[in-house]
């Protein structure tokens, strides 16, 4: 009987944990969405890599790699 009690407890612990984690998924997900939305609003005006700058990068890469590489995406990092 001891063993059965343990296993019943395990059922409870297991389901509680799974619900707790998926609550965190929901809560955390909502929090992150709000957080990122807030950041977005602040950064919106300054978030594009200037076209001129991009052109320079593209041409430099093309020279360095003798045309073997191409710019797929430019991410502004600062």
């Amino acid at each position: 009987m001891e063993s059965i009690n343990q296993i019943l407890l395990l059922l409870v612990v297991g389901m509680v944990t799974v619900f707790a984690i998926l609550s965190l998924v929901v809560g955390m997900g909502n929090f992150l969405i709000l957080l990122v939305n807030r950041l977005e609003e602040n950064n919106q005006k300054q978030d594009k890599v200037a076209d001129a700058h991009a052109a320079v990068i593209t041409s430099v890469v093309s020279i360095v790699t003798q045309g073997k590489a191409q710019i797929v995406k430019i991410i502004k990092t600062k």
Binding site: I7, L22, G29, N30, L32, I33, L35
Partner: protein, 398 residues
């Protein structure tokens, strides 16, 4: 005559006569091959598993995985010398628990959390659908399985191959073969199991709940302004809390989230994404399949336990699906924004097959009710749910 004797000695014919059950195993392997190739049941896993099973059951082929006690304290060069390359691969890659996390890394790299993030509320139902795991575990203990074996059997109800395999390796490696077979077979049978359980547990009115209609009746306030950034932060922050609360799930969830992270970062870590989702994933799948198949010899497979596992696995699937459905029904009792119970049925995971099946069922009742995107939310969260459940089982039972 000496010649004929020599020839016969070389063949496996005499050996087959002394262990005729091996022939039965060969028949089973051909049935699995038929299911995998002819019927399209999870061919990526069932074909190598069945082929490994076939190789293992030719006496003299030196391909059957031996009992772990036989190689106790052997190092891998010794294992290779004494028992051949299949045992070397098995004891290095599987018995150590290495491959399932690596496969989970690939799963992570191929998973898009987008549909879940867009319908976060529905992720809850991925929790309710883990009830099959624990229910079947209790029944299994009652009919005589040890708690460890029962946990490994129950995890079939998580409907997730690598999770089931990882849990079995740690809790009950002697049952690995039948558990893997059951897990992948029922995942392949989801198009049959889900409609069955749905028919038993839901009314036509419930199945006609139109998700998009509900959405426009009760629109969500949430707008996602930069999904890409959320998708990068999500695995990191989620990881932090899961690792904190269930550290025993780190090998599975940790690698899953790492794979997802290198995918979402994009071009900058594309090489890592390639390795996780192709190179490592495909190679690991071949070796996992062949070696898991090679554990299934007549002695290890043709036992009453195998039948119980096959039966218990089905029950675990059914209970998990029903669990998800009843959780939705319970929710609908209190909420005004109703949810189609099919969203609960996909909570067990079996991504993305379960979602497609749910979508098809919904469309039968209402041609405009495209609920695929909604189903994917609970479907994906079910992967996390069962990995966490596995962590709890391992933490308490091993």
């Amino acid at each position: 005559m000496e010649l004929f004797e020599k020839l016969l000695e070389m063949t496996a014919i005499e050996a087959f006569m002394s262990s005729p059950l091996s022939l039965l195993m060969l028949v089973l392997s051909f049935i699995l091959l038929y299911l995998g190739i002819g019927k399209g049941f999870e061919p990526l896993l069932l074909v190598p598993i069945a082929f490994g099973m076939m190789l293992a059951n030719f006496p003299g082929g030196n391909m059957a995985v031996v009992n772990a006690d036989q190689v106790k304290d052997f190092h891998l060069l010794q294992i290779a010398r004494e028992y051949g390359i299949m045992n070397m691969l098995y004891f290095t890659l599987i018995k150590t628990g290495l491959l399932p996390p690596l496969i989970f890394m690939g799963v992570g790299a191929m998973t898009d959390f987008g549909p879940m993030l867009r319908n976060l509320r529905l992720a809850f139902f991925g929790a309710a659908a883990q009830i099959g795991i624990f229910s079947v575990m209790i029944v299994a203990v009652l009919i005589g399985f040890t708690p460890k074996e029962a946990g490994a059997l129950g995890i079939i109800g998580g409907a997730d191959g690598p999770t089931a395999i990882y849990t079995s390796i740690i809790l009950a490696p002697h049952l690995l073969g039948p558990i893997a077979i059951a897990a992948y077979s029922y995942m392949a049978l989801v198009p049959i199991i889900i409609p069955l359980v749905v028919k038993w547990t839901t009314s036509e009115a419930e199945l006609m709940i139109n998700m998009k209609e509900q959405e426009s009746l009760y629109p969500s306030k949430m707008v996602i302004k930069n999904l890409q950034r959320v998708k990068i932060l999500f695995p990191l922050v989620l990881g932090f809390f899961i690792f904190l609360l269930v550290p025993s799930s780190v090998p599975l969830v940790g690698f899953l989230l790492f794979g997802n992270l290198v995918k979402e970062i994009g071009q900058a870590t594309n090489r890592l994404y390639q390795a996780a989702s192709e190179t490592i994933m495909n190679t690991a799948t071949i070796f996992l399949g062949l070696t898991v198949g090679a554990t299934m010899t007549a002695e290890s497979f043709l036992t009453p336990q195998t039948l119980l596992i096959v039966g218990g696995g089905f029950v675990a699937f059914a209970i998990s699906i029903a669990g998800g459905i009843f959780a939705v029904k319970l929710y609908n009792l209190f909420a005004s924004k109703k949810i189609n119970p099919l969203i609960g049925a996909t909570g067990l995971s079996a991504v993305p097959m379960a979602s497609r099946v749910a979508n098809e069922i919904a469309l039968k009742y209402d041609k405009t009710n495209h609920l695929l995107q909604y189903a994917m939310s609970s479907n994906i969260s079910g992967v996390i749910g069962s990995a966490v459940a596995a962590g709890v089982l391992i933490s308490f039972l091993s």
